[in-house]
C-alpha cells in the first residue's frame, strides 16, 4: 500500500489501476475450505469472555485496567498476555491505587486473581479494594462531585468558542452496567465482602513461602522469584488458562498482580547496590514471566519502585522486557508542588511505552502532558494544559491561528509574532479535530518503513495535480 502512494507520474495510469486492484483486496492467497473444527459459519469464532473485548485496531483481546481513562490512553485496554509495569511514585500511594483498581476490575468482571506481594498479605490487599460504582447511584455521585468543583468562572458559557462547549472532555463519565468493559470505582468505600468471597483468587505472600526454609540461605537472590514463577506456572496449568484442560468450557482470564517487584523484600538487591550479584535476576524473571503470559489467557500488573533502582541500565532493560510501562510521578515533596500549572493535580502520569502487538505501529496518544488527581472518590487523568488554558479558551478558541502582539504595545503598533505557548493548545485542538492527520515526520523513527511525504501539491508539467499523499496518512 505504501508503494502505491509513491508511484510516479509517468506510471500514473498503471498506478491507478494498481490502486483500484489493491482496494478490492484481490490476493493470490485463498482461504481453505471449512475449518477443521467443523463450524459451518465462515466467520471466525469469537472468544467471548466476560470483561474483555477485541481491540478496534487489530482485533487483539483486551482487558480493562480498571481505570477507563487509562484504558483510553493505552489504546483501548491491556492486551491479554501482556505485562503492565507501573513505575511507582516515591511514597507508593498512587501506584498501589492503580494496582487495586486492576484487581477490583478483575473481581467485578469475574476473572481469577493471583496476588503476589512480599510486604502485605494478599488477603489484606483484597480487603482494601475500592467498591464498584453501579448504575443507579453512579450518576448521582458524579453529579455532586462535579458540582463541588465548579467555580464561578466556568459557569460562563463560552461566547467565542461556542462550538466547543459540547466537546467531550478527555474522559466520558457515564454509568456503565456490570457487563460492560471498564467500570468506575469509589475509592472512599471498600469492596463488599460478598464480592470477594464470590471471586476466585490465589495469594502468594513471600514471607510465608520462605519461612520454612530458613536453613537454606534465604538471601539467595533469585529464590523469591523462582518460587513466584513456579507458583504462577502451577496456577496457570492447574486451572487451564493455557488451554491444557480442554474440558473447560468456560474460558476465563487470570489477572496477576505483583506488588513492589524488585524491592529488597523480594530478596533482590537491585535497589541496594549498583552492581550486585543479582543484577540479572529481575530481568530473567520478567523474561520468563512474559513467556508464561504469552502462552496463557492472562494479564499481569507489576508495580516496581524504579526510583530506588541504582543502576539506570537495569531500568532500561526492564522497560524493554515489559509491554506497557506507565510511570507515576507525584508532586509530594517536590518543587513542582508550588508550580501554579500543577496546582490542581497530584502528580504526572507518563506513558513510557506502548507495545506493538501484531502491528507495525502502536496506538500512541498524542497528548504527552498528563496529570492525575485523586479526588475523594475518583482517580482522574487529565491533560495538564487544560487547567491553565481553560480560561484562555474563552478568548482564543482552538482550531484557529493567531497573530499575537507584544505585551508592551498591547493595542498599539508593534511587531507581530507567534507564540509557542499557545501553539501547544492549538496542537491539541488540531489533533483532536483532525484525528487522521499524521505529522509529516513521524515522532519516533520506528523504522517500520512507512514513507510519509511532506505536504504540498505536486504539480506536473501538464498542469494536472497528482494525488498528494501529504499529511493524510491512509491507515493500513
Amino acid at each position: 500500500m505504501a508503494a502505491v502512494a509513491t508511484c510516479g507520474g509517468d506510471a500514473g495510469s498503471v498506478g491507478s489501476a494498481v490502486a483500484t486492484a489493491s482496494k478490492s483486496n484481490v490476493t493470490s492467497f485463498q482461504r481453505r475450505g471449512p475449518r477443521a473444527s467443523g463450524t459451518n459459519d465462515s466467520s471466525p469464532r469469537l472468544v467471548s469472555i466476560t470483561g474483555t473485548r477485541p481491540s478496534v485496531r487489530n482485533g487483539q483481546l483486551l482487558v480493562s485496567t480498571g481505570l477507563p481513562a487509562l484504558d483510553q490512553l493505552l489504546g483501548g485496554g491491556l492486551a491479554v498476555g501482556t505485562v503492565l509495569l507501573i513505575e511507582e511514585d516515591k511514597y507508593n500511594i498512587y501506584s498501589s491505587l492503580l494496582f487495586k483498581y486492576f484487581l477490583a476490575e478483575g473481581i467485578v468482571s469475574g476473572h481469577t486473581l493471583l496476588v503476589a506481594s512480599a510486604n502485605e498479605d494478599p488477603a489484606n490487599i483484597l480487603q482494601e479494594l475500592p467498591a464498584p460504582l453501579l448504575d443507579d447511584n453512579c450518576k448521582k455521585e458524579f453529579d455532586e462531585d462535579v458540582y463541588n468543583h465548579k467555580t464561578p468562572e466556568s459557569n460562563i458559557k463560552m461566547k467565542i468558542a461556542w462550538r466547543y462547549q459540547l466537546l467531550p472532555k478527555m474522559e466520558q463519565i457515564r454509568p456503565v452496567s456490570s457487563s460492560r468493559f471498564g467500570h468506575y470505582y469509589d475509592t472512599s468505600k471498600r469492596i463488599p465482602q460478598e464480592l470477594i468471597e464470590a471471586s476466585k483468587w490465589h495469594g502468594f505472600f513471600l514471607p510465608e513461602k520462605i519461612s520454612s526454609t530458613l536453613k537454606v540461605e534465604p538471601c539467595s537472590l533469585t529464590y523469591g522469584y523462582i518460587k513466584l514463577l513456579q507458583f504462577i506456572q502451577n496456577i496457570i496449568y492447574e486451572e487451564g488458562f493455557d488451554g491444557s484442560n480442554p474440558q473447560k468450557k468456560q474460558k476465563n482470564i487470570l489477572r496477576i498482580g505483583i506488588q513492589n517487584l524488585g524491592s529488597p523484600l523480594w530478596g533482590d538487591d537491585i535497589c541496594c547496590t549498583e552492581n550486585g550479584d543479582s543484577s540479572h535476576s529481575l530481568t530473567k524473571f520478567l523474561y520468563v514471566l512474559r513467556g508464561l503470559l504469552r502462552t496463557s489467557l492472562s494479564a499481569c500488573i507489576i508495580t516496581m519502585p524504579t526510583h530506588l533502582i541504582q543502576n539506570k541500565a537495569v531500568i532500561a532493560h526492564v522497560t524493554n522486557l515489559s509491554d506497557i510501562v506507565v510511570g507515576l510521578e507525584s508532586f509530594i515533596g517536590s518543587e513542582r508542588e508550588t508550580n501554579p500549572l500543577y496546582k490542581d493535580y497530584h502528580g504526572l502520569i507518563h506513558i513510557r511505552q506502548i507495545p506493538r502487538l501484531n502491528n507495525l505501529v502502536c496506538d500512541e496518544s498524542d497528548v504527552k502532558d498528563l496529570g492525575f488527581k485523586l479526588k475523594r472518590k475518583l482517580f482522574t487523568i487529565e491533560w495538564v494544559q487544560d487547567n491553565y488554558l481553560r480560561q484562555e479558551r474563552n478568548i482564543y478558541p482552538p482550531g484557529f491561528s493567531y497573530l499575537l502582539k507584544q505585551k508592551d504595545s498591547a493595542w498599539g503598533e508593534g511587531s507581530l509574532q507567534h507564540s509557542t505557548f499557545l501553539m501547544s493548545f492549538l496542537a491539541k485542538a488540531t489533533a483532536f479535530a483532525s484525528r487522521l492527520v499524521r505529522h509529516s515526520e513521524p515522532l519516533k523513527q520506528t523504522g517500520s518503513g512507512r514513507i510519509c511525504q511532506a505536504a504540498g501539491p505536486r504539480l506536473w508539467h501538464d498542469g494536472r495535480r497528482q494525488e498528494a499523499p501529504g499529511l493524510l496518512g491512509i491507515p493500513p
Binding site: S96, G333, E335, T338
Partner: protein, 300 residues
C-alpha cells in the same frame, strides 16, 4: 511530635551524622518506652554495654534486655553466652516471640548491621519484626512493635538508604543550627500522604526529652524560602491579562456569528448606495484573456 513517635509502631529510622549525633536521642526514646512499661530489647553492636547503660538509673537498667554483640561479635570466645546466629539470629528470635504486650527494639546501630549483613536480608528481617502486629494468627491482640534503628547516614550510599527509607514508617533526620538540635520527622502512613515536621529539642543529662520552640518553627512541608512559586506568565511576550476597559470592550463586542436584531435589519434594509465595486484591471503582457466567456453558453 517527637514524643508521639512511638505511637505509630513499625520501623523508626534515626538518621544522624557526624555533627549531630543520634545516640542520645535513641537513649532518650528507650528510656521513654521503658518508663511506659514496655519491654525493651537492645541490640548493642557499636558501643559497649557499660557505655550504653551509662546515664540510666537502675530502675530503667533493670528493664532493659541487652544483647551484647560488641564484645564478641563473631563469637570467638565460644563461651556459650553469646546468642547463636549473631545479631540476625537475635532479630529473628524476636520475630517469633510468644509473649504479648508492646515491645521496643533498639538497634544500635543499624549502620553496623548494614555493613555486616546483606542489605536484603536485613530488610526482610526488619520487615518481619516490625510487622508482627499486623496479622495476629490466633486472633489475640499482639502489642505493637517499635523498632528504633540508629543509622549513620554518611556511611551508606543512596541505595541502602533509599531501601531502608522505603521500609520505614518514620524517619527522623537530625540536624540543627548552632546550639540547637532539630529533628525533621517524616511520617509515612500506609495509605496517606506523608507528613513532614521539624521539631527542636534538647536532651537533658538524664536522657529525658525536652521539646523546645526553637529559633524558627518550620512546619510547612518542604517549603523553601528561596524558591518562590513559579509564575508561568512571567516572561511572555504577549499580553494574557485584560484590563477592565479592555474587558468591557470585549464583552460589548458583537461577534460575527451572532445574529442579533440590528444585524438582521442592517442586512434587510436596502442599501442606500448600491455602489458597485469597481475592479481595475491592468492586463499583463502575458495574459491570455479570452474575451469569450466559456460560461456564456450555459443557460441558467
Amino acid at each position: 511530635m517527637l514524643d508521639s513517635l512511638l505511637a505509630l509502631g513499625g520501623l523508626v529510622l534515626l538518621r544522624d551524622s557526624v555533627e549531630w549525633e543520634g545516640r542520645s536521642l535513641l537513649k532518650a526514646l528507650v528510656k521513654k518506652s521503658a518508663l511506659c512499661g514496655e519491654q525493651v530489647h537492645i541490640l548493642g553492636c557499636e558501643v559497649s554495654e557499660e557505655e550504653f547503660r551509662e546515664g540510666f538509673d537502675s530502675q530503667i537498667n533493670n528493664r532493659l534486655v541487652y544483647h551484647d554483640f560488641f564484645r564478641d561479635p563473631l563469637n570467638w570466645s565460644k563461651t556459650g553466652e553469646a546468642l547463636p546466629g549473631g545479631p540476625l539470629g537475635a532479630l529473628r528470635a524476636m520475630c517469633k516471640r510468644t509473649d504479648l504486650g508492646p515491645v521496643t527494639i533498639a538497634l544500635d546501630s543499624l549502620s553496623w548491621l548494614l555493613l555486616h549483613l546483606p542489605c536484603t536480608t536485613l530488610c526482610q528481617t526488619l520487615h518481619a519484626v516490625s510487622h508482627q502486629d499486623s496479622c495476629p494468627g490466633d486472633g489475640s491482640p499482639v502489642g505493637k512493635v517499635h523498632v528504633l534503628g540508629l543509622l549513620h547516614e554518611e556511611l551508606h550510599g543512596p541505595g541502602p538508604m533509599g531501601a531502608l527509607s522505603s521500609l520505614a514508617q518514620t524517619e527522623v533526620t537530625l540536624g540543627g543550627t548552632v546550639g540547637q538540635a532539630s529533628a525533621r520527622i517524616l511520617c509515612r502512613r500506609p495509605r496517606q500522604r506523608p507528613t513532614d515536621q521539624t521539631q527542636w529539642f534538647s536532651i537533658l543529662p538524664d536522657f529525658s526529652l525536652d521539646l523546645q520552640e526553637g529559633p524558627s518553627i518550620e512546619s510547612q512541608p518542604h517549603s523553601d524560602p528561596h524558591i518562590s512559586p513559579v509564575d508561568p506568565t512571567a516572561h511572555l511576550t504577549f499580553n494574557l491579562h485584560l484590563s477592565r476597559k479592555e474587558r468591557e470592550a470585549r464583552d460589548s463586542l458583537t461577534l460575527p456569528f451572532q445574529f442579533s436584531s440590528e444585524k438582521q435589519e442592517a442586512l434587510l434594509r436596502p442599501r442606500p448606495s448600491q455602489a458597485t465595486s469597481h475592479i481595475f484591471y491592468e492586463p499583463d503582457a502575458y495574459d491570455d484573456l479570452d474575451q469569450e466567456d466559456p460560461d456564456d453558453d450555459l443557460d441558467i
